[in-house]
Symmetry: C3
Subunit: 214 residues, 3 copies
């Protein structure tokens, strides 16, 4: 099981690195920009989690294999995109959903292992899943997509809650991991399939209530 | 005294969470975006402070009650704003100023407790007060308001300096806290009342001197 | 040698603080914004490095002299730019390249000292050199310049790799430092002189492959 998780983790890193590289391409960044966006997208969420939990070194400092995987994935994207013009969008989305699911359960489990409460563990799980994409969009000078539309974070949220609940009920860890991953994955795929989204926060009457603004 | 500070801290968290939720609304974010902006606005400054001071776990990891407060405040804002269209701007500004004052003194005191020098303590106090709002604006893809206009950070700066000075003069801690909070609060309210602002940095002669730009 | 490095480090901090202050001026920020941008530009990279390495307190918390230097440099810029309208661009670029070179070697050496592998050390070196400028641009709501054009990070990358290699070959540390600094510096100056840049990542056929986007 541990090994399967490890492999899926690397697959998630690859997909998120590709996603970051493509975002860099959209902003016409150079090769260095591609590398940086690939790194923050795939490693950013887990890095933030490890800094907040403060339980030993950040995962990619402890296991530099992650850096090599990101390097490989981003250079491959850089080269492949120039020659290949029909990326297999459907497969990309499937792998992306899988990456989200695995990152979420890893983050949640790591938080619980360090002894945090249930609420903090859920936050850490979701953060591991989505923070990388948020930093990617910030570096692209855009309002992060995940904050705006589509059920993306909600899948991660459900996966994290499911894992925490099963953990509290003393379920076998392997079962908790599988059910958590499936929860995230299925919700995300359903959201893509039927175009689900969360209610958007719109308020009329324009008047700003923010203390700092005019 | 400790209890009063604790209660005021939570009040500050509520106000900053509302401020973050409203910023999310302005950018038409969805419910998840509202939650994230509420969290970073209200917890971001203290989180950065705790990571920099590196003295034990981040405050909301140690005391998850903060997460619940943010969750409640942001959902309440999400619901209330849709039905209620005349937010009481004046009260909001007063509470915001109070939040700024309390966050500042808490940050400054926490830094001094870990043994930092006076300068670092002032930086930590101001950071606790304003960094959350800066991250909120970055996630909204805007140049942070606090860097541009109005006396906002200056109130926080004065409150932090006052606390450090009184601490160096061995004043009773309760007195230092009260005077520091009043300093920040009064300067902030005066700035709102009379529209005070800092000199803006404008330079003519356009020629860029930045090494990286064309 | 240690002393020369220390002096060059402060010189780098001054130059980066000026660069941050000027960026704040371009966005018409106020005096507080100038201070914040000067701080994040000059101290941001090293701060991120120290938080990731998690080896004792962040450098400017341990040695607050850095804060004073940034404060002085940004206020001087704030005043000087208003009266002086012909900044000596050429000298600024030379000092900026020197700052980049020194920051890079300091970051790389610090990582190796804490026992990281070669790859992580290179990442830390480059991060120390360029992350401050990236945060500066994020706070200016711009796509970071260093991700887009000109050989800037590549100089830093070469300097870091050179240092790591010489370290692995057990070269005298003084020699490693000098060769590393010269590598970064010369590549950066050559890039400015001949307008070198990295290949840009452009892909045609518009179709988004990003999982989150419509």
């Amino acid at each position: 099981m541990q090994q399967i998780i490890y492999i899926m983790d690397f697959l998630g890193v690859v997909v998120f690195a590709v996603s970051g590289s493509l975002a860099a391409g959209k902003k016409r960044m150079d090769l260095f920009g591609v590398l940086v966006l690939a790194m923050v997208t795939s490693l950013g969420g887990g890095t933030l989690r490890d800094m907040l939990l403060d339980s030993g070194p950040v995962f990619w400092v402890a296991d530099p294999a992650y850096l090599l995987v990101v390097l490989g994935a981003s250079i491959a994207t850089f080269i492949a995109v120039r020659t290949l013009n029909a990326p297999r969008r459907r497969w990309f989305l499937v792998f992306d959903a899988m990456g989200l699911a695995v990152f979420t359960v890893i983050g949640t489990a790591k938080a619980l292992e360090t002894g945090t409460g249930a609420g903090v563990a859920v936050v850490m799980g979701v953060m591991t899943g989505v923070a990388g994409g948020i930093i990617r969009d910030v570096l692209s000078a855009e309002v992060p997509l995940v904050l705006r539309k589509e059920i993306y974070a909600v899948g991660s949220l459900c996966g994290a809650i499911v894992y925490v609940l099963m953990n509290m009920l003393h379920a076998v860890d392997t079962a908790s991991i599988i059910v958590s991953i499936l929860s995230t994955f299925i919700i995300r795929m359903a959201a893509i399939r039927w175009g689900l989204s969360l209610p958007v926060f719109t308020f009329k009457g324009g008047g700003s209530t923010d203390g700092e603004e005019k």
